[in-house]
Chain length 328, copies 2
Amino acid sequence: MTIKIGIVGYGNLGKGVECAIRHNPDMELAAVFTRRDPETLKILTEGVKVYSYEEAESKKEFIDVLILCGGSATDLPAQTPELVKHFNVVDSFDTHAKIPEHFAAVDTAAAQGKKVGIISVGWDPGMFSLNRLYAGAVLPGGHDYTFWGRGVSQGHSDAIRRIKGVKDARQYTIPVDKALKEVREGKNPELTVREKHTRECFVVAEEGADLDRIREEIVTMPNYFSDYDTTVHFISEEELLRDHKKIPHGGFVIRTGKTGWEDENSHVIEYSLKLDSNPEFTASVLTSYARAAYRLNQEGQSGCKTVFDVAPAYLSPLSGEELRRHLL
Amino acid sequence: MTIKIGIVGYGNLGKGVECAIRHNPDMELAAVFTRRDPETLKILTEGVKVYSYEEAESKKEFIDVLILCGGSATDLPAQTPELVKHFNVVDSFDTHAKIPEHFAAVDTAAAQGKKVGIISVGWDPGMFSLNRLYAGAVLPGGHDYTFWGRGVSQGHSDAIRRIKGVKDARQYTIPVDKALKEVREGKNPELTVREKHTRECFVVAEEGADLDRIREEIVTMPNYFSDYDTTVHFISEEELLRDHKKIPHGGFVIRTGKTGWEDENSHVIEYSLKLDSNPEFTASVLTSYARAAYRLNQEGQSGCKTVFDVAPAYLSPLSGEELRRHLL
């Protein structure tokens, strides 16, 4: 018997979940739900239907877990509490400051529906958070560092696109090697934002646009660029489509700390990701936690959970015995 | 109220646990139990008593968790099932092939005593196992690699010391850079043991010993060295004590895998440790899992568990709310 997954929202993330389900033989895609006109949506999996978002509830008996692939700004704060009344759900809510609020709303609704809702799943929040927790518990009193990149920041790319005379743009966030090196050496540097990351922008300008003005507007843009060392490259539309069509990302979580009676020994714990596709990897994490949501609910659990609350074994299709035999 | 920890066995690992407790303000060392004459043992923590192993049971009302610091060959197979009848326990049992058997014995005894026993805790098995599980669940169909080192192998050092004419020795296991590089590039190489690790030996010979014969005996020793490229350096006792007194170790767990409808995107997940002191780091992991054992038992749970069965939040002294606010 396979776990029946429903996808809510079919952008890059939703499509990534569809692909991830194909890589997990114990799961199958049951349905896709969209806010768009279902007729206009062409999905990859043969024989699976697309429904409007409003129809979701009426399909609940055919679905074990819904993976919510909407955005954190407006979709998930409404959808996750609404849907967890009827379904086990997993989302990738990533507005850090609002996680406590989102958790509370999902927890109340999940308890009401006797379902499991796992929120803020992905790689940051998600796998990176797990590594911060494990490393922090093992090396208390140590220092934590998170670096992101090299990878495309959608928010920064969008900010450039809003500048007059810009046709398209891609922005890469890049960790600074010198800072990474100092952190790994256990020097516990105090790093400014400028010292941790640089920003590299590839910009397609409209014909006749003032390139110097565009460059100046980018590098001085508050919040997004003014606190960073930013490089701007003007390229052609063909180059952008050819060389920058992927959505890579990744990063590093490093903790250094001391042990010994007099702190005489130093240790470095490092976790890193190098991802060709940010949405597909995030989708793969969501999909493994869908398995966990299903199993936890089968055991009678309910309420809101995060990656911190889920024992690792729930993520794997292997049995406890197989895990101990092959992975321990 | 602090968690009261007892240490069973006071070698490098037990001493490491004593130091780790000092780094965790929510814990205190309650007692040390030893197979040696308690009178001969001088521990670091003032005011804490040393008892004989046989006295442990009589102290159970003063202890929340016992951390077992004996060896996997003979100590733990007997001690863990025996002690988990009366105590929550954590051990670092690391004989991979015998983990299923050990798990079964501890599970039966723990159920009987209504206590929690967490076995095979440390970094491998332990943190490395966790990373194999998480990465495997997220990237099904990928490839897993574990490299160890640069670090001292106690077993290999002991093997050299048994050779006639050898006074002392230290053996380092070293991962091969070329292999690491190929793995990180996602080439999925099939690696022989020789291609994964090299071995470097620092040997103090007795006066007048035949160095060529010793070198030959080392590099041809079956199981330990004959399948590896091994380098032997003869050094003085002073040099050994000066340059090789620490017990460093570490390693890498790397998983590469593909996502996308046609496997078009590649990903690399890497976890690495660089440790000045193998026993002190292992002890730090054990100590964080002691917190988990205590809490799980407080919730009414019992039985044998491994790192796979423990939700990460149980390891941290922070509350769920604090974790979500600061680490997620």
